[in-house]
């Protein structure tokens, strides 16, 4: 058992470790290439249009630093870190001279919104249905829901999104397929705009939810079918405690504890899914940005998105970890 402050400190330490190792992996990966990445990037970035020589010189400078190619390995390493800590990835090559941070900052809210809504929806619904299915094992409707949820679960995000695109794009075109909001809309805080954003998010959220639902469903169902055999549940039944109370406060409430941990642990995977789903539906988030950055050969943007993703996901995990004691009074060591 740990006290609250030690718990917080360990979680903070873990957060720092995740960021540290993540960034190091990024550094190693960028240094694993045998090609001269700077010249290649510049060639790729300039092949589409004429860029002024000064711009190319600027690019070369920031690229060299970003790739960490100036000075010895140690210098390179520290220069790399400095850039990252300052959040300064230089100008984007494909959208020169807009800084990478601006592009990422513009895309991040879309991804965050998409992730938040789909994850919340999926987690709540999956846990609710899974919990009920674990408690009322003989219910046919719930068993059917389980089969349905599980059928989608093993299929990768890309395939599900793609199939949805086919279904709603070609067979039954009722939903907008692409973009974050209507083409003719101006970005303003009006009902029309919000409605359009909501409408455009239906398919991406749906494909994320379809894949995610099965996991939470199964996890919760098996947790609940274990928890119903716990002494405190049997005892509450013996005590004539109301069924609804037992289900909510004894069974589900206890099963939620590991599910919160599970949420923190699967955030990375969910993020992967969001990236690819965005790309399929042309959603204006970091996923679409990342893929188009690769196509445009925009190294600074790719590196910027990668590092921001690492930091953002670990921050989200840290947030969940910090909330964890609210749901588990024991604040157990993990």
């Amino acid at each position: 058992m740990k006290t609250y402050p030690t718990y917080i400190l360990t979680r903070l330490g873990q957060f720092v470790l995740v960021v540290f190792i993540g960034i190091n992996i990024a550094f190693i990966v960028t240094h694993s290439t045998p090609i001269d990445p700077v010249e290649q990037s510049i060639a790729a970035a300039t092949q589409y249009g004429s860029t002024s020589p000064e711009a190319i010189a600027l690019m070369r400078q920031s690229l060299k630093e970003l790739y960490g190619l100036q000075g010895g390995l140690a210098d390179q390493y520290f220069a790399f870190w400095r850039r990252i800590l300052l959040g300064d990835f230089g100008p984007s090559l494909s959208a020169f001279p807009t800084p990478v941070s601006v592009l990422v900052g513009r895309a991040l809210p879309w991804t965050a919104g998409l992730l938040l809504s789909s994850t919340l929806l999926t987690w709540v619904l999956g846990n609710l249905l899974g919990g009920l299915a674990g408690y009322y094992r003989q219910s046919r409707a719930l068993r059917f829901a389980g089969i349905l949820a599980m059928a989608f679960h093993p299929i990768p995000y890309y395939v599900v999104a793609f199939v949805l695109l086919i279904v709603f794009g070609y067979l039954w075109p009722i939903l907008p397929l692409s973009g974050g909001y209507g083409m003719n809309m101006t970005r303003a805080l009006s009902w029309g705009f919000i409605g359009s954003v909501a409408l455009h998010s239906i398919l991406p959220v749906l494909s994320l939810a379809l894949v995610g639902l099965g996991g939470w469903f199964m996890g919760m169902r098996s947790l609940v079918s274990n928890i119903v055999t716990e002494d405190y549940v049997a005892y509450a039944e013996l005590g004539g405690v109301k069924r609804s109370r037992i289900l909510a406060s004894y069974v589900m409430r206890n099963a939620l504890v590991p599910q919160v941990t599970g949420l923190a642990m699967s955030l990375g995977a969910i993020f992967n899914g969001a990236i690819i789903t965005e790309q399929v539906f042309g959603y204006p988030g970091v996923g679409t940005l990342l893929v188009s950055a690769v196509y445009a050969g925009d190294y600074s943007l790719v590196l910027g998105i990668t590092t921001v993703s690492i930091v953002a996901v670990s921050l989200a995990v840290l947030l969940i970890d910090l909330c964890y004691p609210l749901i588990d009074p024991r604040v157990r060591a993990r």
């Binding site: 470790l17 290439t33 094992r137 093993p154 995000y157 098996s222 079918s225 992967n272 990668t306």
Partner: protein
């Protein structure tokens, strides 16, 4: 372990149907060895022929017979999944067993590392990897990279089993009789963790194939080795869907979904087998 699998096959419908699905997929993959074409042959058949008796699955816009091409693709995809699974199994087993067995500080350090790899979003890193490798990106390199990044979830499971084994009698007997840690882990503990290794292997194959498909569809791999994802990539390049060449997309997706569901069913039924409490089905009539 062998007995267990046999029992599952006989008494567990999920397991049996999963095995059947995979058997079909595997048999189809084996057909590739009898293909009249080489995997990268193009324009050997008339393009865009819908499925008929000559071309069971139709042909692509690049003049390939989809039936044979797909057999290569699924073979490569399965091999890829297996390669990642085997490599990451070695890592997961080594780290999980050592952490669970030794406990203490080493365990804490390894699990910290483990949690780190669980949290880090791999997809952007793999994209970055492709970005710097470009044309040098190969099937094997990607498998290696994914194995190095994808062991963490399973190492945690293996560790929890290993931890429960640590205080069993045979471990202590082993220690007293002077067995080395490696001997104890390999000879005494490994058999106990095999069932869980089996189910995590299925999940891991699923995971790696899923990522591979995703990366290839975007063109972020070696697009000259046919895999399911690469097939879809070319289909997209030729806007197959818009031009109504549905079979170019339908059959690869069908096959890969069969694979996913098959693997998943094996993993799930095995998991249920491992956890006896969830088998009880207390409220079942």
């Amino acid at each position: 372990m062998g007995r267990t699998l046999l029992d599952l096959l006989r008494f567990n419908r999920q397991f049996a149907s999963g095995a059947a699905l995979l058997l079909i997929v595997a048999a189809y993959a084996c057909l590739s060895f009898f293909s009249p074409y080489a995997p990268n042959d193009t324009y050997v058949a008339p393009p865009d022929v819908p499925p008929d008796w000559t071309y069971l699955m139709g042909t692509t816009s690049r003049g390939q017979d989809l039936f044979w091409l797909l057999s290569f693709a699924i073979r490569n995809t399965l091999a890829f999944g297996l390669a990642v699974a085997v490599l990451s199994r070695l890592l997961a087993l080594a780290i999980g067993l050592v952490a669970g067995y030794s406990g203490g500080l080493l365990d804490r350090a390894l699990m910290s590392l483990n949690d780190t790899f669980i949290v880090i979003p791999l997809f952007p890193i793999l994209v970055l990897f492709y970005f710097v490798m470009r044309d040098r990106m190969s099937w094997g390199l990607l498998a290696l990279m994914m194995a190095c990044l994808g062991w963490a979830y399973d190492a945690r499971l293996i560790r929890s089993v290993a931890m429960s084994l640590r205080h069993r009698e045979f471990t202590e007997t082993g220690i007293f009789s002077g067995m080395s840690m490696r001997q104890i882990l390999v000879e005494e503990h490994l058999p106990y963790v095999l069932p869980i290794v089996f189910s995590t292997t299925m999940n891991n194959i699923n995971w790696s194939i899923g990522l591979e498909v995703t990366l290839s569809v975007l063109g972020f791999t070696d697009i000259n080795t046919p895999t399911i994802g690469v097939l879809l990539y070319w289909a997209n390049q030729h806007t197959a869907l818009v031009s109504g060449i549905w079979w170019w997309i339908f059959f690869p997706v069908l096959l890969v979904v069969m694979t996913f569901i098959g693997l998943f069913l094996l993993a799930v039924s095995m998991n249920e087998y491992i956890d006896p409490r969830s088998r009880l089905g207390r409220r079942a009539p």
